[in-house]
Symmetry: D2
Subunit: 137 residues, 4 copies
């Protein structure tokens, strides 16, 4: 299984007065990448929400290696590192052409919107539970 | 009844690459001002949410007269223009010291989080339904 | 000249605890629409920034008619109402399929990133200065 | 030297449709905490910007242990772990009363707004360069 790629354009909203993309904006880009990767796998937040299920990020470690700027066209790459029980581990990169700007290891869990943990949706375990596809950092 | 004042500090997150505060950030400041004005009146979003009630902005007209910058200490002023049936009309200004930076007329309604309109919470009608306190623009 | 259309997907970042899209998020969508409309006209923020020029929203009036939700695919429609001297007046709508969710009249000016007003970039005046293309509200 | 504490209120803008605070919002809260900690030390972004200097986050590892909700009053705790050359290492926590919700180790560097790395501002090295004050995780 190959990694998933999703393009993201940088807009005014993503930048700050330093002239660079604001660091927390990369987390939004990563989240868009995860959502589009799930959508491609047939998993939709809107359907999960009707069952009272949502995702939550439990842990991230992020390296901000280089800055993105207004108008940049970026690519968010997403690959499954592992699915262990209730924990989905992903490796994500943001690139501008060949340059890796930001690298993250992300741990995602499922939660009940009424509070408390939920089981990882079956579709994720079935499709991605078999092994490792981490992008080598 | 006097207008309500609430201080807001400008952080990295509020600015964009032009060096000014991003225009949509003022809407966040206005919303913080409305929330704190309601809190002072004993009305809390967290309690309303438990009853399945939230607020929604139905209309805004905004004048962005002058720019705010990183580290600025702003004041959000909020006054009721009118409460008519389900519609709460507010006048809000954002100032840096004596200078008005942004002016807005805001129409707020109550909604059910399950969808559809809701009655304006009683506390708002009782406290603010009597007349007009608009800040003259 | 026809109006410009640009698709926008709703992500976690755009929603709030009411279950709807946060009202200020529509301003980001409108801004993305304006940026892509300008890009199509050959006008790029990154190039203007190198000349010390950026855009600022001077005024908006917005009607929030109906709510968008997580996973919704929206379309931002942008049309020039007029270009008068330093002021660009736009009419913008956000739709989900046939339904108009949000309508805005937006006044944009050019500014110097060093402070103070700037001339509207020539490309905008030349291409859009001739007349009116407002979407009828 | 003791850790720095700064209160943060949760508003609509910080939440998402899951009913919890959006994960990237905690990064904004951490950034506000760092800014206020610097302000107390007499270091202001607005003054650094005039010298063409800004801060950039180079790395973060974050544990999201528990969720915050609308109206919550949080506290951001910031302590210096070390200042080594151009790198400022901080430990930051977000708490709701006694409960730690989010924990982060943050590496901050100084950059030139014209591009490229800058020296860590002298005030930071002088005040915080001596040793370690990490909050034990």
């Amino acid at each position: 299984m190959s990694e998933h790629s999703f393009p993201v354009r940088v807009y005014y909203e993503d930048t700050d007065f330093s002239g660079n993309v604001y660091h927390a904006a990369y987390l939004k880009f990563f989240e868009r990448g995860r959502t589009e990767w799930l959508r491609e796998a047939g998993i939709h937040h809107s359907e999960l929400a009707q069952q009272g299920i949502a995702f939550a990020v439990r842990a991230m470690d992020i390296q901000f290696d280089a800055a993105a700027h207004i108008d940049d066209l970026l690519v968010v790459k997403t690959a499954v590192a592992s699915v262990k029980g209730a924990r989905l581990m992903l490796t994500q990169h943001i690139l501008r052409r060949e340059t890796v700007l930001t690298r993250a290891n992300v741990t995602v869990v499922a939660i009940k919107t009424s509070g408390g943990p939920a089981r990882m949706p079956k579709g994720i375990v079935e499709r991605f539970g078999g092994g490792s596809n981490a992008i080598p950092l």
